[in-house]
């Protein structure tokens, strides 16, 4: 069982999203920040959840594009959740699994800012969890990615989501 009431959620960091015609904005920095948080979580025995999205066209379940990004520093002790909606809590066992681990706060990172990251932050709140969004830990393959990141950092902050840079998030 988790020793702390907090969990790290890594949303949709899957191969297929890094192979779009418009690349993920600041992909290297994003992966570095996410891996830094994964490393800190592992070191503090904080559960790490990888959320994998699937659909019928772009992220077909089981396909190469559906797989988690190869650079993610996952460990066998990490959790996997499969989803088909933007909100990772919708029609998935994520909420039940978190509650089983006595988690009350989730740290959210991943893809894409104005899609599943936003929806999962709101979904987590609606499910009764405190939410920390990693300010520099989410992105998208939109041409307006920089503006979208800034916009949703602000809008989610206004919804009582704590927005913090990766450097400030420690689990110890």
């Amino acid at each position: 069982m988790a020793t702390q009431p907090i969990a790290l959620l890594v949303i949709d960091v899957q191969q297929g999203l890094f192979e779009k015609s418009t690349p993920i904005y600041k992909a290297d920095e994003l992966l570095e920040n996410i891996n830094t948080l994964i490393g800190r979580a592992h070191a503090s025995d904080v559960p790490v959840f990888y959320i994998q999205h699937s659909d019928a066209r772009n992220l077909v379940k089981g396909s190469a594009g559906w797989q988690l990004h190869a650079q993610l520093q996952s460990q066998p002790k990490d959790y996997i959740i499969h989803k088909q909606h933007g909100n990772a809590f919708e029609d998935t066992p994520l909420g039940e699994t978190l509650r089983s681990l006595h988690v009350d706060t989730v740290v959210v990172t991943g893809l894409v800012t104005h899609g599943c990251v936003k929806a999962t932050c709101i979904g987590a709140q609606e499910a009764g969890f405190n939410v920390i969004l990693v300010q520099d830990g989410h992105s998208s393959f939109s041409k307006d990615a920089a503006d979208l990141i800034e916009k949703w950092n602000e809008q989610l902050s206004a919804r009582q989501v704590a927005v913090r840079p990766a450097a400030e998030i420690t689990f110890g």
Partner: protein, 170 residues
């Protein structure tokens, strides 16, 4: 001609009983996998000994999981079918529970497997696209590229990736 590469078993009975409770075979069934919460699933595994796949296929322990439906979830949860239950971590149990529920519900939603028919003669639509590892024997694992193997596990066979599902765990 008998196709020896892919074979399936069919089970079926037609019994008359006044109530389900009075029907011996039904009364012996364990709880339905789709009704189990994560905590209940953990509790059922408890301090059990033996291999995880054998336990999952025992309908008196948990009802609803057949050999076709167990292989994909074991692959998704990165668990070798012969791993002892006691060796499974909390995360492995949670991932297995999640994958089993997802797989069974998906099959129900699609009307069952593609080689089965309902009472109206309609075929299900749950096919190899949904089954991940089951039809990949001799082909590369979609995660790591290692050749998918087919091993004997008790009375059944299991397709697995020896790298993603190591016998001794990670």
């Amino acid at each position: 001609m008998v196709n020896c590469k892919h074979y399936y078993w069919w089970f079926g009975f037609a019994h008359h009983a006044p109530t389900l409770a009075a029907h011996k075979m039904t009364a012996e069934l364990g709880p339905d996998m789709l009704d189990l919460s994560l905590d209940e699933f953990r509790a059922l595994l408890g301090k059990r000994k033996g291999a995880i796949k054998t336990f999952l296929l025992d309908q008196k322990r948990i009802a609803g999981i057949g050999n076709v439906y167990v292989q994909g979830p074991l692959f998704l949860a990165r668990i070798h079918p012969l791993r002892s239950i006691a060796s499974l971590s909390d995360a492995e149990i949670a991932n297995l529970w999640s994958a089993l529920r997802e797989t069974l519900q998906q099959s129900i939603d699609l009307g069952g497997s593609a080689w089965e028919q309902n009472l109206y003669g309609e075929k299900g639509q749950w096919d190899q696209r949904a089954m991940h590892i089951l039809h990949l024997e001799g082909q590369p694992c979609p995660v790591c590229g290692t050749t998918v193997e087919n091993i004997k596990t008790g009375n059944t066979h299991t397709r697995l990736c020896p790298v993603c599902q190591p016998l001794n765990g990670f």
